[in-house]
Amino acid sequence: MQIKILKPGILSTIQDLGRMDFLSQAVPTSGAMDTLSARIANKAVGNPDDFAVIEFTYAAAELETLTDVLVAYAGDGAILSINGNNLPSERPLFIPKGNTIKLKNNPDGARTYLSIVGGWAAKTVMGSKSTYLTAGFGGHYGRSLIAGDVLSNDPITSQLSKTMIKKLKSDTPKFLNWSIPKTLLLSSNRKVIRVFPGREFSKFNGLSITNFFSSTFKIAVNSNRMGFHLEGNLMLQRKKEELLSTAVAPGTIQVTGSGNLILLMADCQTTGGYPRIAQVAAVDLTLCAQLKPGDSLQFEDISTEDAEILYLEREKELNKLTTAISSRF
């Protein structure tokens, strides 16, 4: 199966669930910013969760099917369409050869993930197909996609994927009348982000902590896959102390020397020297990935134990989904 990129959009890269095993050498995790959507796009075509997907940022991308394809998409940055007809998300889509798929603006979010049966083919670098642009490795030749790129899938080994192709094969775009209920996995208010206290939380003064949990913050324009700058009340330490650099992770909220917040995302450095006021619960980091510059968010305090429980519940639900999808075919 093959597609050709006609328009790449703002930033389109190949990502999987990240590169965990080389953090000690300062190689960032990378991977999909919204891992939940990437996993759902994969599940929807019968792939394992960690197969490579295309991460589109906002809309404006266009691609052409050079062969018949079985794909799926999830995420809130765009709505896929063919000849003006919207394609539904979170379910397998059979698109015959010669169709142009356009990504239309979706005001709900920022990033959209496109999976294909077998996963998008790319060289595995250090255990992952994720693109890391700063060092120019992973994904499609270590770079973001450009017009004219032709992408293929890896061989299809999943029996479920093969069954889906058989059932949906048609001369016109075809899909079933059901979808993966992704919204059931998310909290109802997507602008409230749950966090637990970071290591240096208690170094901040009372007013700062009160403001941290009661005021809103705005995503600044200079936000990217490395991290989001947040505009809002300044966080001040009771006593200024120099910290030595130590490990940080996606979801870590650092406070700069001037008191501004930086929320670290997928491509963040592995170590940092700024005090860490909080850590975003892993289950809500996927919500952050859908925020755009100008969007507001609020933080809600939870315990580390609750964050772990939420994580485990999410994983359990995702496992159930895999079984549920198989039973449909």
Binding site: F22, L23, A26, G136, S245, T246, A247, T271, E305
Partner: protein
């Protein structure tokens, strides 16, 4: 609040806190110290030699060791405890009793050839003058020390080295350069280091190595790792040119 657990290894106490749902950090105070770093390296090697079920990787820093894991695998493992933290802390307690200051630590010494000055080290003369040294004296002092890799961070393969002679301390550049070529050797404050990739940077550049500090195609992509020792060896421009050329791109 974060629950803080206190433990002792090699007679050095440390605290454990949760970084994320899939990482714990062991913190050994807040100062740069050779002995502390040695203890951390020791513990790091012990964990890697006898990893627990669900272990992913570690990140060593000046006075912390962060352990990354798969929460599902840890929770379903037979370790004692009701959650990931309890289980891993239990494992660390047992492991730490087996480590003493006599535990043999494996250290590697890596010699890095450097062509100092000229186009490769545009700030050498200015930094030598600033420190009231000739360029030859500056080079001799820089290449006489044995440096310790305290941690790898900032960008892939970037080593934070300790052990710079105080006669060579140099301020950062007032105006950072937009591109520093990979392999450039620099000084900033009390630190010296090598740029593994073409990146912007504010360090004073005194030379360049023909060695590749980071190669995504290698089994160990970063030439240096925490705990290693580093020696710089001065080479001529002809020596430099005789090394195989490399590019950053894959």
């Amino acid at each position: 609040m974060n629950e803080i657990t206190q433990l002792v290894v090699d007679q050095i106490g440390f605290e454990v806190y949760q970084l994320s749902e899939s990482a714990l950090t062991l913190e050994f105070g807040n100062k740069i110290d050779v002995e502390i770093s040695r203890t951390i390296s020791n513990l790091n090697q012990a964990i890697q030699a006898q990893p627990f079920i669900g272990y992913r990787t570690t990140v060593q820093a000046y006075c912390t060791l962060t352990v990354f894991y798969d929460p599902i695998l840890v929770l379903t493992s037979k370790l004692n405890g009701n959650n990931c933290v309890e289980k891993i802390v239990g494992y660390l307690k047992l492991l730490s009793t087996k480590i003493t200051s006599t535990t043999k630590l494996i250290t590697t010494t890596i010699t890095i050839p450097v062509c100092y000055g000229g186009d490769f080290g545009p700030d050498l003369e200015e930094m030598a003058t600033l420190n009231q040294l000739t360029t030859n004296e500056f080079i001799a002092l820089h290449s006489a020390a044995k440096y310790k890799v305290y941690m790898i961070g900032f960008v892939p393969g970037f080593a934070y080295l300790g052990g710079l002679n105080e006669k060579l301390f140099s301020p950062r550049k007032a105006q950072p350069r937009s591109t520093i070529v990979s392999g450039s050797v620099g000084i900033a404050g009390r630190q010296t280091g090598i740029y593994p990739l073409n990146t912007p940077g504010g360090w004073q550049i005194i030379g360049r190595t023909p060695n590749k500090l980071f190669d995504s195609k290698c089994i160990q992509p970063s030439l240096l790792k925490a705990g290693d020792s580093v020696i710089f060896k001065p080479i001529t421009i002809d020596d430099f040119n005789s090394y195989p050329k490399h590019s950053d791109a894959d």
